[in-house]
């Protein structure tokens, strides 16, 4: 199975409504898909040659009140990277899991659940992966203020300033 990207993209476009593959560079493409179709869409792409799931990540579009989940797929026959993007609302972020397609997705989903608070429906194990005893809102959300948190929890060193260059950033 070594069809070219164009063939794969045409086949996939004929199966799903309103998907358009956008070319970023020779070996890099992107596509957006609705949340309810994402599982069958990724399944189809996997069968057509994008068999390697490299990464799942998340973007917080705070002004649009949406989270964007980005699945990065790789095709070993054509050496092409494909970004599949889907969006979910910020108020109630729920996305179906893709663990049935790629079991390794479990850990990426745990990671995104921990750092953005996106729930993956069907993933049985969403307990924290990296942080320990975290009680605030998920730290990668744009409305979380890391500096304020740091100031409250981790005291700074106080310096005695005895000389300042005029116009330096500490000159008040």
């Amino acid at each position: 199975m070594s069809s070219t990207n164009e063939v794969i993209f045409n086949e996939v476009s004929s199966l799903f409504e309103k998907v358009s593959f956008e070319k970023i560079s020779d070996r890099k493409y992107a596509v957006s898909i609705e949340k309810r179709q994402v599982v069958s869409f990724l399944e189809t792409l996997k069968r057509k040659g994008f068999s390697h799931m490299s990464l799942i990540t998340c973007i917080d579009w705070i002004e649009e009140k949406e989270f964007e989940i980005v699945y990065t797929l790789f095709n070993w026959n054509t050496g092409t990277t494909l970004m599949v993007k889907t969006r979910t609302s910020r108020e109630k972020p729920v996305v179906p899991t893709i663990m049935e397609i790629w079991p390794t997705a479990k850990f990426y989903e745990r990671d995104i659940h921990e750092f953005f608070g996106v729930k993956f429906e069907g993933n049985p194990d969403l307990k924290p992966l990296i942080l320990e005893s975290w009680e605030e809102i998920p730290p990668m959300r744009k409305d979380f203020d890391p500096e304020k948190y740091s100031k409250e929890h981790f005291p700074d060193r106080a310096y005695e300033v005895d000389f300042l260059v005029k116009g330096s950033e500490n000159d008040e």
Partner: protein, 179 residues
């Protein structure tokens, strides 16, 4: 400022300063400066300092870089396992004042609030020359009996514990290695 030392302590400190085993806790980027410091170019061993694999036999705990709250819990475990006399060297500006991670939600900003630091090596990251010169300073301090972080930790244990708890919530580690 030299402290009053008994004759035994003077001899002990002189000997201690000349044979140091170092546990390097490579938390941050600074760890990359240690291989050249240990190997033939800068050759740390000519000062009697050599690497040690376990905390129970080490004298120096070298913390090379930023500490997340998660790592700090392990560092406190490690430090409390070490036998006195024990010395901590904070390495790089991240241990001093947070460095470029001063506003991170995950890393502490000031190491000496949580464990007693005997010597800081400033720089991001300090070069092997700075490390070697820092170790010379540490040896002089041990020789003069001024590197007494482990005594301060015993005397002010409540204060250190209070700071640890305020930053970490609890020091106890829950994971598959410590349950």
């Amino acid at each position: 400022m030299t402290k009053q030392q008994s004759a035994w302590e003077k001899v002990a400190n002189m000997l201690r300063a000349r044979s140091l085993w170092m546990l390097y806790y490579c938390t941050g980027c600074g760890a990359i400066e240690l291989p050249p410091t240990m190997t033939s170019r800068f050759d740390m061993e000519r000062f009697g300092i050599s690497p040690m694999a376990t905390p129970r036999q080490a004298d120096i705990l070298l913390i090379t870089g930023y500490l997340s709250t998660k790592t700090l819990r392990r560092v406190i475990y490690t430090y409390e396992q070490m036998q006195a006399p024990k010395y901590i060297v904070g390495f790089g500006s991240c241990t001093l004042n947070g460095g470029i991670y001063y506003d991170s939600y995950a890393t502490i900003n000031k190491l000496d609030l949580y464990i007693p630091v005997d010597l800081y090596l400033a720089g991001c990251m300090p070069r092997p020359e700075a490390i070697v010169s820092g170790f010379k300073k540490l040896m002089e301090k041990i020789d003069r009996g001024e590197a007494d972080g482990w005594k301060r930790y015993q005397e002010n244990y409540e204060w250190y514990k209070k700071n640890q708890l305020s930053a970490l919530g609890e020091v106890y580690i829950h994971d598959e290695f410590h349950e």
